[in-house]
């Protein structure tokens, strides 16, 4: 679902944001398509929540402009935006029960009582909270409060739903379940979701598009597969999944030198003898007989991780992390094998691995 020109719903154009002289966003440009599930991923303090607050209307950009369906949007107050938010701490109204929390937006719009009743109960069904109408929000569990918050936002039929780390407070099992539910809701309702999280796994499972941010800048935008398989730089590769990163040199297109050997690869577009970083995912490294491997190493440690074994292999002064379903013995001599497609070459950009 690419965001080509006519399908755009939100566009950020060189947006800057500063709080009291402290700049948190630098020239952020971003396009969000209709019915897209876009996730902004980054460590805390990277500016992802600020982007959400700008779109929601709780902040005004210090420079740049936000467009909604092609119209400048920065000066529209939050209550006039066809956008709703699921807040990080849910922010339910503690003086209202479940029904009234969900009905809040409808009452503001002076909907007739019958419509309110009908819409709220439809929402309660959608989020699996039928029969909870009269309950006080304090009596709900974290997951239930979360669902009330989602229903409260969705009942207004917003064009865009903003979600600010909505699953952060839930335990692992509930989080997985809600991830699926959210994705299903988004597909069936056809609403644009902009989702903010620091959890890379969450980002990769749910999204159509992932935007990786750090220190107020967008580093990469792409499908989950692109982000995972072809991270643009070391930061992204380290932030998403685990990785082996080595210093290397590109003598020419399709060739890279690292760990003291020359390997064929699929990357091009680097200048001659350009210093680079080389990324190989732990699950892409195969362990073979010492003589049939590209490199030789000795197993240093083996840790069982549930689905796979995590092994550290020492190879001529380099450490390799390898994920494999079969276990090896510590001290065993092995060979390492990977294909040219498993090698990802990244520019250095002055970032240390």
């Amino acid at each position: 679902m690419s965001a080509n020109g006519k399908d755009l719903i939100i566009r950020l154009d060189k947006v800057c944001m500063a709080y009291g002289g402290h700049q948190v966003l630098f020239d952020v440009s971003l396009e969000v398509g209709k019915r897209e599930f876009l996730t902004i991923l980054g460590p805390s303090g990277c500016g992802k929540t600020t982007i959400l607050r700008l779109i929601g209307g709780f902040e005004t950009p210090t420079a740049g402009e936000i467009y909604f369906e092609g119209q400048p949007f920065s000066s529209v107050p939050p209550y006039k935006r066809p956008i709703n938010t699921v807040f990080q701490k849910y922010s339910l109204f503690s003086h209202l029960n479940v029904f009234e929390n969900i009905a809040f937006g409808l009452r503001i719009r002076k909907q007739p009582e019958g419509v309110i009743k009908e819409k709220v109960s439809r929402m309660l069904e959608l989020v699996n909270l039928k029969g909870f109408e009269k309950r006080s929000v304090h009596s709900l569990s974290g997951g239930q409060q979360q669902r009330v918050a989602i229903a409260r936002a969705l009942v207004n039929e917003p064009k865009v739903l903003l979600l600010d780390e909505p699953l952060g407070a839930l335990d692992l099992y509930l989080r997985k379940e809600m991830q699926l539910e959210l994705k299903n809701m988004q597909t069936s309702l056809g609403i644009t979701f902009i989702y903010v999280t620091h959890d890379q796994e969450e980002a990769l499972t749910m999204s159509d598009t992932v935007v990786v941010m750090n220190q107020g800048r967008i580093l990469q935008k792409g499908t989950p597969e692109e982000i995972y398989n072809e991270p643009k730089n070391v930061f992204i590769s380290k932030f998403i999944g685990e990785s082996n990163i080595f210093e290397g040199v590109m003598p020419q297109d399709g060739e890279v030198v690292f760990c003291g050997k020359k390997f064929p690869c699929v990357d091009r577009g680097f200048s001659r003898d350009e210093p680079v970083y080389v990324l190989i995912r732990p699950e892409d490294v195969q362990t073979v007989e010492p003589q049939s491997g590209l490199l030789k190493g000795k197993v240093q440690s083996v840790v069982f991780k549930g689905v796979h074994y995590e092994m550290i292999v020492r190879e001529n002064g380099h450490q390799w992390m390898i994920h494999s379903t079969k276990s090896l013995k510590v001290g065993e001599e092995i060979g390492l094998y990977f294909t040219p497609e498993d090698i990802h070459v990244m520019k250095r950009n002055g970032v240390a691995p």
């Binding site: 939050p78 209550y79 807040f87 109204f93 003086h95 009452r107 207004n156």
Partner: protein, 284 residues
């Protein structure tokens, strides 16, 4: 063995205060209750009677009672009207200013209320600062002191901080998130106030109301100093019965009645809370 030892000390430590509080808190109230239900007989003994309470329903005393309640009610309303915006503004200030203001609001509460009341005598008197100011502006002097208005001013002045502080406390507990959530759901500033801020500040309004109403309805100092003893309040009536008229039986009945009024006011206030905050969002 050790638990036995600790149980013994436990028993010993609770008795002194139990004894003291019974003697100096419970017994006096029982005595007042006893006085209120008795009258002296010509033979020098006492007999059970409800005549003290019946006497209260004479028009003179009913007027005193209604005047007290009305004045206290007015003072409470004015305090609420003045205090609510002040508390709202304080909540929105930066933390440095907010703490200073809080201190400035608490401070007058600790100044002896006699002095606070007396200061208005100085301001409102015939030769007072206010009249000097009026004269200086070429306006005719007013006689505000020793009037009902002066008593009202005195009450508002004395009890305003008691209204602002609980209001401030409850308003400051409302998270920015709840307000943003409301705005996000389409509420403009008026909606936010009506549907979120106001209902969430109800506990503060109720506490503030009780804290102003209670001392206002029971005061005798403010009316004695600023009202000049013309408009008697129930407090003045009680004081008079105990210190000059010497009819302790009637005075006790009045004291009991005053406690009942305050109890009713507190119950009404807490009932309104339950009825409104928990049903639904539609308050108006």
């Amino acid at each position: 063995m050790k638990t036995v030892a600790s149980r013994e000390t436990r028993n010993l430590l609770q008795y002194p205060y139990l004894l003291w509080s019974s003697l100096f808190i419970v017994v006096p109230l029982v005595l007042v209750l006893w006085y209120s239900f008795t009258t002296p007989t010509p033979t020098g003994r006492y007999e059970f009677s409800i005549s003290n309470y019946r006497r209260f329903f004479e028009p003179v005393y009913l007027r005193v009672m209604s005047r007290s309640i009305l004045l206290a009610f007015e003072a409470t309303l004015i305090c609420l009207a003045l205090g609510y915006p002040a508390a709202m503004i304080m909540v929105r200030l930066g933390s440095k200013w907010r703490n200073t203001l809080l201190l400035l609001l608490v401070l007058p509460m600790w100044i002896n209320f006699l002095l606070r009341t007396y200061s208005w005598m100085v301001l409102l008197g015939r030769q007072g600062v206010l009249n000097q100011l009026l004269q200086w502006m070429g306006l005719p002097p007013q006689s505000i002191l020793y009037s009902r208005g002066a008593v009202l001013i005195g009450m508002v002045y004395n009890f305003l901080p008691f209204m602002i502080l609980p209001l401030y406390t409850s308003l400051s507990k409302i998270g920015k998130e709840q307000i943003e959530a409301a705005e996000d759901l389409g509420a403009n500033r008026f909606d936010v106030f009506r549907r979120v801020i106001f209902p969430l500040s109800l506990p503060g309004i109720l506490t503030g109301t009780t804290m102003v109403f209670m001392p206002a309805v029971s005061t005798f100092v403010i009316s004695a100093l600023l009202g000049g003893g013309q408009d008697m309040l129930i407090g003045n009536l009680i004081e008079q019965q105990f210190l000059s008229t010497g009819d302790w039986h009637f005075g006790s009945a009045l004291s009991i009645l005053m406690m009942v009024i305050i109890l009713i006011a507190m119950t009404v206030v807490s009932l309104t809370d339950k009825g409104k905050t928990f049903e639904e969002g539609n308050l108006w």
